[in-house]
Each structure stands twice: as C-alpha cells, then as structure tokens.
Symmetry: C2
Subunit: 569 residues, 2 copies
C-alpha cells in the first residue's frame, strides 16, 4: 500500500488529483477558481479532458461563425489571466452572454485549443448555469479603454477592471507580506485606537468625532413635536406643590389619621415630581450644548473632545514598553485640504515599535521589511506585476528586484546636505534652497535615491528643530536619532526614529517645543517607570503600493479613496 | 562537505546553533527573546553554558542571602514564562533591580539551577547593561493582585501585567490566524472605508466626522484678532470704486493718452479688488455654517455629512462582485450608549464575502474559520491558554478542543423556536417570551448552544421581519437566508446571510422597509449589471477573544477600549 501511494499515478489520475485539489481550493463554492486552471505552470494544458464548473465576469465576448458559437474571456478575479470559454448556440442564447460585465456560471469540459492560439486550455461549455446580464447601453464601464480618473467616479464598479483588480491583488499581497514579516520576527500585532482623545499632534489637521450634532438634531425634532413647558406651566406646577404642601401641614396640625396624612404626602410627592420633570424639560435648549460660551464637550459621547488618530505610535509605545516587539497596521487620518496625487484623508499605516533597540536596529528592520515585501511580490504576484509593467511602468519589476537585492545606502543628514550642495555647485537646480537645517523636499529626496545613488537611501540624524519631540536627542545636542528611507519613484517611504527614553530630556523637549505637559503625562510614565531604549517607524502603505506598481495617483491604490470633497459610498 | 553538513552536530554545537537561531530570531535587537530560552521543549536546559544578553521587565524580585544576591523574574512579553535571573551584589546595586516593573538588560551565562527548583534554566548575571528604575512607592501598578477593572484606569501600563500581555498574544494569534485562513482559501483582503457617506444603517447610532466645528473655532479666533469690516468700511470702498470709475470715464471722454487711461484703469481695478475682498470678509460669520436653517454640510470636509462605518459589508460586496472572494478586517463603530460588558464604541470586525456561493457555503466557511482559529490557538498559544485556564476559565482549553473537533449543529430558526418552546413546556424559564417571529435573545441562544446541544449551533432562515433588507428572501416569502453561529460562553459569534441578488426583489425590500432608494443606487448597480449569487458574514473579533479566553468584560480584550464617557489616550 505504502509503495503504491508513493508511486507516481498515471497521467489521467494526476490530472484528476490536481483538479480535486483545485476544487478543494475553490473557497466555499462549487466552482473552480480560474487561477487553479490557467495559473498552473502548464497553463492548464494538463487538465484537458476534465469536467469543471467555472464562473466569472465576461471581460470580452463575441459571437462567431455566423452566430453558431461565442467566445468569452472569463475572469473571476483570482488571477489576471482569463479563461477562454466557448459556448455553442444550442446551449444558450449567445447574445445574452457576450456583453462585457456579464456574470456567467458554466459547466463544461476543458480542451486543448487548436494549434496557433495563445491559450493553453479552453472550456467547451455543456451547460450555462447562471447568467447575470448586462445592458451594454447602460453599463457605466463598458469595454472601451477607460482612464483611471474616469473610474474614480465609479468606485463601486471599478474593481471589475483589470487594472483595479490587479492593484487589489498586489495590495492584498503586500498586506499579508506585512503580517508575515512581523509575525516571523515575533512582533505582536496591536490594534491601536482609531478614536483618540490625545490631541497632541495639532488638532488642526485632525477630524473631530462627535455625537453632539446628531443629538442636537434629535432634540430639536423632539422639541418641535413636544414643546418645552411655558413659564405659566411651571408656575402652575409650583402652585400645586405649595397647595399640596399646605394641605399636608394642615392635616398634621389637625392631627389627622396616619392614612390621611400619608395619602396627602403621596399627593405632594407626585406634584413635586411633575414639577421637577417640567423644570428639567424647560432647561432643554435646541442647538449644540454650550458652557461659558464654548461647546460643552462633557455632553459629547466620550465626555470630552475626540478625534480620529493621525498615528498609532504613541499608543503602541505603551505595548512596546511591555511586550518588546509590536506593530500596528490600521487606518490613519489627516484633515488636510490637500489635492495632490500623494495625499489621502484616510490611509493605512504600518508602525512597528521595537524595545531594546536603537536607530541602527530601526534601519535594519526597515530595510529587511521593504526587501521582504519586494521579494514577496516577485514570488507571489509576478503575473500581476507583469500586467503593471506592460501597462503602467515598464521598470517596476526591475525596481523590485533591485531593492530586494541591494543593500540600502545609509548617510547622515549632514552628508546628504553636503551631497545636495555639491550637486548645486555642479549645476543641478532645485526649487527649494539647500542648506543645513532645512527639511529635505521631495525633489532633494528623489535626487539622492534616483540620481545620486540609484538605490534606496536611508538618511539619519536630522536637525532637532524640524523633527518631533519624541525623537532621541543625539550627543551633539543639535540632531535627533531620526531616519527616513528614500526609494526611487516615491521618495520618502518610511520615517522613523529612536525614541527619547530619558525622562528629564523628553520633558525638557516637550516644554521647549511649547507643548503642554499634561496630555503627555501617560507618555512620560513610560519613561518614569522601567524606561527602555526603543525605536520604531511608520510606512505609508499606499506609498508602498505606488512604489511597487508605478501607479501615479494614490487615489487609485486604495479601494475607497477619501479626499477633500469626496467620500463616495 | 555535503555529508558533514548533513551529519548531526555534537551536542555542544547543537546548543550553540540553537542560540544562533535564537539570536537571529531576536527581532532587531542584540538581546535574545526569553521565549527562545524558556520556550524550548527542554525549558532551556540544553542551552546551559551559553552566554546571552537578556532583557525585560522585572515581574518579581527579591534580595536574598542577606543582600548578597538577588533573584529576578524577568519577562519580555515574548511568552508568558519568566526567565529566572540571579545577580550578585558585586555586579550591581541590588536594591535598584528588584522593584516590580524595573527594566533590565543583562549579560550572563545560562546555568541549570540546583535540583528541586521549578526552573529548568537560570541566568547568572555577569554584567548589568541597563536599568530602567521604578519607585515602588509611586508605581501605579505594583505587584499586588490588581483587578481588571482597576487596570482599566491605567491603560498605558496594564500591558505590563501577565493577564493583559497574555490577551495581547492571543489577540495577535487570532488576527494572524484570520489572515492565514482567508489567504489559504484565496480570499483577498480589502480595506473598506472607515469614513463613509452611506448613512444607510440608521444615522442615530453612527458617529459623525466633521471639520466644521474646528473650522468655526478657527474662524472665531481669526475674527477676534482681525474683525470683519464695518458697513462704513465697505461703503468707503464702494465710494472709492465709483470715484475711480468716474476718473476713468473722464479721462476717456477727454481723450487722454493711452498710458494715462491704463494707469487710471489699474487704479480702478485695485479699488474693485479691495472692495470685493472686504465684501467677502463681511460675509464671514462665526459659528457653524448654516443654510436654510440647517447645517450647511457642503462646507464640511467631504462636502457632505460623513460618519464612521458600522460595517464594511455593503462596500466589500462591490469587490466580491468583481474578484469573487474577499474579506475585510478593520475597526467599526457604534455610538450606542450601552454600558454592558459586551459592547464597545470601537471594535474590530472580520467580514468575508463570497461570490458564487449560497447560505450552505456561508455556513461551511464560518464553521471552517472558527475551527481554524481554535486549532491555531491550541497549536501556537497553548502556554497562554494554560495561563487563562489557570487564572480565569478552567474550561477554556476544553472548549477550544470541542469546537475544533465537533461538527456544528445546523437547525432552522423554526426548529430552534420549537426546541425553545419544548424547553418552556419542560419547565425552563426565559425572561423573553418565545414565539415564532421573535429575535432570539441571548438567553435563548445560550440555552441552545450551552444546554440543549452543548456545542456550536448554526441557526438559519430567520423571519424576514427581524432581518436586514439585503438578506435573500426564501421561497416561502416569510424567511430570509440568514444564519447566526452560536457558541458556548458568548452566544452569537457570527451573523451572516446570503445576499439578495435579484434586482427587483431587493428594490422591493428596500421600499417595503421604508428606506429611500437613492442612497442605495450604487448597491443596486451590483444587481443591475452582472449580478451574482453571493453571501458573507461578520465576526465580532473581540467576541472571539472573549470566547477563547473566558474573559468576561470586552473592555479587557481590546488594547484601548472606547465606551460612553471613556476614550483614554
């Protein structure tokens, strides 16, 4: 038995086994994923003769042979390649099948197509199980070449295009690569909060989250339906209380029976209660609750002002200072009125944080992580990368290979400025002047990584004046242990730093920057009690996708882009 | 060479190799993870004689032998077990090391402790590299047994406790298990939006996101600094325009030189410009912008009202109807004023969506996913599960084993109601009356899964009146193809349904439920064009953690809980 199991099965059995495998991988449906057929190394040829159920949406379809049969290019999103499907007129009404966007489920036999065709396998349909029709005259995204800009107005349908589907698969691959990388290195995934009351990083760019407006609207409607009591109503209720009080007094004075007094007291209490209800209601005012001329946030959902997070870093540090190696991967928000191709109001960030580690470790982690993602795409998404190379950026695969295999250059900020000054002396023109102390502009960053070194560059030790208070002050007292990873095509991909772990120094830095201490007390506690050397960085996830795919506009690499004036669906 | 490499190395070399491996797994730091030592099958005994750098926080410490040495129980969060560390008085000031919460980095030699001790290995310190001191008199979470409720007031430090750290590792494991499960089954991870303008599901329970308040506050400050022009200012500017206009007219009438006329026109234009600026500023009004007595949302960041998502389902359906198998895993929000141990204002949901699949497939997917997570914890988190079993819920490991290995019971809602009615006849008391048509209460659900079947139960085909419009209407026209997965300890863990894919039917259902059609037009498009049978479900991630750990309060299984009145950090 053992020997038989180990022996190679005959060819037809092999095909059968492969298909069983394919069916097992079909993801809770009775159809086979198209990638299980055309994604095989043999292009599916080895499956010839097998009966399968396939399903997907028609990318292109045409009737042929004077309407005796139809060719359909079927795609189910499992891979960029289509399955070629042939339907005879006897099997179905062909005109219902051929429109782009039509959904079909078909049973048939896989066959090797005639010599000279591109496909290695095609499906001869025996039965059409389902048709989800499309009226091509009304379909918002018909076959004709559509621009990415046009597709942004049809967010709910654009994932049916080859480009947006390929980006979705690449995005998925990068997300899972991210988790795999950090899990392999024993980092814990920590969900930092989306709603935050730490308004540290400049409330100006933060979205506010509130229930005050909807509560006010609810109250307004309620008050219209059921107006608050008038002064006269309240006066009448007050009068009643005093009358009832008088009645109790008189009964007591008259030494009435206990039962009579109790009944009278009950009446009094009822009157008091209804007075207090009226008084309560008379206080209700339409509009957002105010106190001392300001909005009264004690009445908001969290009893204080709340915002959407701009970064999970400060919060995730609480976990790094407890369980050593952690990372976040979640949405972050900026209420910037910025209409560029590089900014979104809602975007995803990856933020690892490492205890017992310094800036050098931080750079090593960042480099290893970026390389890992590049290798992952080359190994697991090559077909999608080839699609991007063919249609959007012919250098994108080479760029991944280069980054995956080349050690990143590491230069100090001071060296970087010297190199830029040298370039200026050599005739290079920058829009932004170069001198020690400036924040490097995108043009400077791209010069370093694309022109000077032509590979990824890590710039570290920035002037403290242009960086955040939590970055560790270097011994020169002029620079902080910050680092940025610059890559060709997008410039800055990662920003990170060693965190200031010395209580006195960070306290001084907060004060020096004119920030209040009180909101940072919890953050200072991490330094007060059991402080530890630690570092971390942030990677803008959409930037990584731009880098990988060569797509130009960030609005095309996130499924549902949010930017000033737009938040469809 | 090849043979030598393949031969088993001698025992001491093996130990050395293991440690190299441990150092490689140290996650970008020069210390070894404690799990690489004490987490080995031999408890670390095989590493005796090795020199290592270890780091972590002191769980308990005590001076011994009249102050000649100290024992430290060191934990770095990489596993629940501590490393026992012994420091001689000659190496460091022992009193600085022993306080709970102290951070230490030490170099030393691993030794097998004397017979009769619990540890299989201990670290004899040769050098103390770092001490992050703690003043035990001030430390908010000293050693004494602390309640989970108390710890909620110290969110930034509570991950330093064994319980919260164990929950963090279990949460991390379940998150990665989730991704691994769906990736293995070829589902694409799709990031559905957090900010949404689809106010479909009842705006009452949604958080509103706005920049109107902060913009109004900014404007208010600006107007105080720089008051708007008075009517007199504007009148003066108007006067100037008319004078300058007159001057131009006169020059033209007098046939003055072109240069003179041009100069005069320039003056006029300047005056016009400054008038229009003044007029613009005079329109600025403090407060939230209004139009027709209502808030003018065209001036909000997204030019319309925006909310935090309550579910990514509707949006992720757009991807399912394009790339077949997808899932979301992200934060969702409810502005409910609910103070129970089961509700949060911000919580994480997993929502797969499957094309070409029906309710049976949906149930199969849900069952496979829950079983997969249970197995994952048993395989990869057994030490943490043992901690939970010992300290919180002695049945939690058995529960995972049972769920991982037992086929889930599947009964229709009608059958479920019959079983409950039978129980009532048998003397069982429920607070909520049982009759066909009710939404099952938690007590009913728990009776079915904990008492009647004592295993997971899937209830399907619910009355349409108690379910959402998007659930597929069954042929009986009374029920919809919905399903809930009930498990012991938490009751409902998953809710899902086959989605209504028939355009006419879903349109009718929307209208029938009194909902407006317009906001659903994009959702209807999925049925208008290439419609497909599909289904999906949602799993409340924190509920899964409650189920796994046996923890009672949901506020303890998310790092930063948000609920009415509280959103710390």
């Amino acid at each position: 038995m053992v020997e038989r199991d180990q022996a190679a099965p005959p060819a037809d059995q092999l095909a059968a086994m492969d298909l069983t495998d394919a069916v097992q991988n079909h993801a809770f449906s009775d159809r086979v994923l198209i990638r299980s057929i055309v994604g095989r190394p043999d292009g599916g040829a080895g499956l010839a003769g097998q009966r399968v159920r396939a399903a997907g949406w028609v990318r292109t379809g045409r009737e042929q042979g004077k309407g005796t049969f139809a060719f359909l290019e079927l795609n189910d999103g499992s891979c960029p390649a289509n399955l070629q499907v042939i339907v005879d007129a006897g099997v179905a009404v062909l005109s219902k099948l051929v429109a782009t966007g039509t959904c079909v489920v078909v049973d048939g036999i896989l066959k090797v197509p005639p010599e000279g065709t591109r496909q290695r396998i095609e499906l001869r349909v025996e039965k059409v199980v389902h048709i989800g029709e499309v009226d091509p005259a009304k379909y918002p995204i018909p076959k004709t070449k559509l621009t990415l800009e046009f597709l942004r107005d049809h967010l709910h349908l654009r994932s049916r295009t080859n480009t947006i589907a390929a980006i979705a698969r690449i995005r998925n691959a990068l997300a899972f690569a991210t988790h795999s990388f950090f899990q392999e290195h024993h980092f814990l995934y920590v969900h930092t909060p989306i709603l935050t009351t730490s308004d540290c990083e400049g409330a100006g760019e933060m979205f506010q989250v509130t229930t005050l407006i909807s509560e006010a609207e609810k109250l307004e409607k309620e008050l219209i339906k059921n107006p608050p009591p008038s002064e006269a109503d309240i006066e009448a209720a007050r009068q009643l209380v005093s009358e009832r009080g008088e009645a109790v007094k008189q009964l007591k004075a008259a030494k009435a029976s206990k039962a009579d007094i109790a009944a009278s007291v009950a009446e009094l209490n009822k009157a008091k209660e209804s007075l207090s209800k009226l008084e309560e209601r008379s206080k209700l005012k339409p509009g957002i609750p105010q106190k001392d001329g300001k909005i009264d946030y004690t009445q908001d959902f969290f009893a204080r002002q709340a915002f959407l997070t701009v970064s999970g870093q400060l919060q995730v540090e609480t976990y790094a200072c407890a369980v050593s190696n952690v990372y976040t991967f979640g949405p972050t928000f900026r209420a910037e009125h910025s209409h560029t191709s590089r900014h979104l109001a809602e975007f995803w960030m990856v933020e690892p944080e490492i205890a017992f580690a310094d800036l050098q470790d931080d750079m090593s982690c960042a480099e290893a992580y970026v390389k890992y993602m590049c290798k992952w795409l080359l190994e697991k998404c090559l077909d999608d990368m080839e699609f991007m190379a063919k249609n959007y950026d012919k250098g994108c695969i080479d760029r991944l290979r280069m980054v995956a295999s080349t050690p990143f250059v590491r230069i100090s900020y001071t060296e970087a400025v010297e190199l830029l000054e040298e370039a200026v002396r050599g005739g290079k023109k920058f829009e932004n002047e170069v001198e020690w102390g400036i924040d490097l502009a995108s043009e400077h960053e791209r010069y370093l990584t694309e022109v000077k070194f032509q590979k990824p560059v890590i710039v570290y030790n920035y002037p403290k004046g242009i960086k955040a208070f939590y970055m560790r002050l270097n011994d020169d007292l002029k620079t902080v242990a910050a680092m940025d990873v610059l890559v060709p095509k997008v410039g800055e991909l990662i920003g990170g730093s060693q965190r200031e772990e010395r209580y006195d120094v960070i306290r001084e830095r907060i004060t020096e920057m004119g920030l209040p201490l009180e909101p940072y007390e919890w953050y200072l506690d991490l330094r007060r009690y059991g402080t530890v050397k630690h570092c971390g960085f942030g990677l803008g996830f959409e930037r990584m996708i731009l880098f990988a795919t060569g797509i130009d506009n960030i609005r095309d690499v996130i499924p549902f882009p949010r930017y000033p004036g737009r938040a469809d669906l």
